[in-house]
């Protein structure tokens, strides 16, 4: 169990790192893009806006 937990924590640290909010934001932004595109709307603009906002917010928290 201890080994499984350590592996899970290692994978989490490797993929998500020390800012889980940005990782969650990426998932939400991709989901919103899929919803917009599925509804037939222009969706490409959403990711650049989301990435700029996520990076800015992440840096604001970290400064």
């Amino acid at each position: 169990m201890n080994t499984v937990r350590r592996i899970a924590l290692g994978v989490w640290d490797f993929v998500v790192g020390d800012d889980w909010v940005s990782a969650a934001g990426v998932v939400v932004a991709l989901g919103a893009t899929a919803l917009l595109a599925g509804a037939g709307a222009t969706a490409w603009w959403l990711m650049p806006v989301a990435v700029a906002a996520l990076l800015g917010a992440s840096l604001y928290r970290a400064r």
């Binding site: 790192g17 940005s22 990426v26 969706a43 650049p48 970290a62």
Partner: protein
């Protein structure tokens, strides 16, 4: 070679060179201080473990439907890219200390010297384990980047070749210098990698989610410089913010 393939090769080369410098610093420290043969056995074991991981994951990745692959890979690259870019911006703004390979080398060498005498066997366990861990962890990042970039465009060969060249260049430079590659402009390279990972992640993630970029692949020619400019602007804002707050 198309523009996208060139972008892929440059991204993989830069990312792999950074990881190789970090792994080389660890191997050099234990090799110089304790045992070259044990450190090199550790490197060999880590390379075999990495080959097994890549062989297991590679075919699984390439067999996924293209849009699922794009969303998954785009999302992962974006999460990874934002981490690299955030740290690089913080370093560029002076809010996080620069990665100092000389300091890392000195710390690893001190830890290796303090780890006690070698046992009676031919293999020095400390050198083996530290070299194995260092190469495996840094190598996993290389493998991740090669597999994700390569499989998305079905260009694993180009990605693997770029990674191989980067590792060879770093190892040859390290062998010639027998010292950590402190003169490599590591933060500038990390900034560049963060920009590339974020740009490709955003591009593929949005495409996989069903969005269509204006200009198709040509949109990358706008996305990459735009991400770079945003990163530089944020670094400038952060470095001037403390002065502005102090003046207020």
């Amino acid at each position: 070679m198309t523009g996208t393939e060139l972008g892929l090769a440059i991204s993989v080369f830069l990312a792999c060179a950074v990881e190789a410098v970090e792994a080389l610093t660890i191997v050099l420290a234990v090799g110089v201080t304790r045992s070259w043969s044990s450190a090199l056995y550790g490197v060999g074991a880590a390379v075999l473990a990495l080959a097994a991981i890549v062989a297991a994951l590679g075919p699984a990745l390439t067999s996924l439907p293209i849009n699922t692959l794009r969303v998954a890979i785009g999302g992962l690259l974006l999460v990874f890219g934002l981490q690299w870019l955030r740290k690089a911006v913080l370093r560029a703004a002076g809010l996080k200390s620069l990665h100092d390979e000389d300091a890392t080398f000195a710390a690893e060498r001190e830890a290796a010297a303090a780890a006690g005498e070698r046992g009676g066997s031919d293999i020095d366990g400390y050198s083996f384990v530290i070299a194995f861990k260092g190469v495996l962890l840094e190598g996993l990042e290389v493998a991740f980047i090669v597999l994700t970039f390569g499989s998305e465009q079905h260009k694993v060969g180009i990605a693997a070749a770029a990674a191989g060249v980067a590792i060879a260049v770093v190892v040859l430079a390290g062998a010639a210098a027998r010292a950590p590659l402190a003169r490599v402009p590591e933060n500038a390279m990390k900034f560049g990698v963060g920009v590339m990972l974020t740009s490709f992640g955003m591009f593929w993630g949005a495409e996989g989610a069903g969005a269509h970029w204006p200009g198709g692949d040509g949109a990358l020619l706008v996305i990459i410089p735009s991400v770079l400019l945003v990163g530089l602007a944020l670094a400038r804002w952060l470095s001037s913010a403390p002065a502005a707050e102090a003046a207020a």
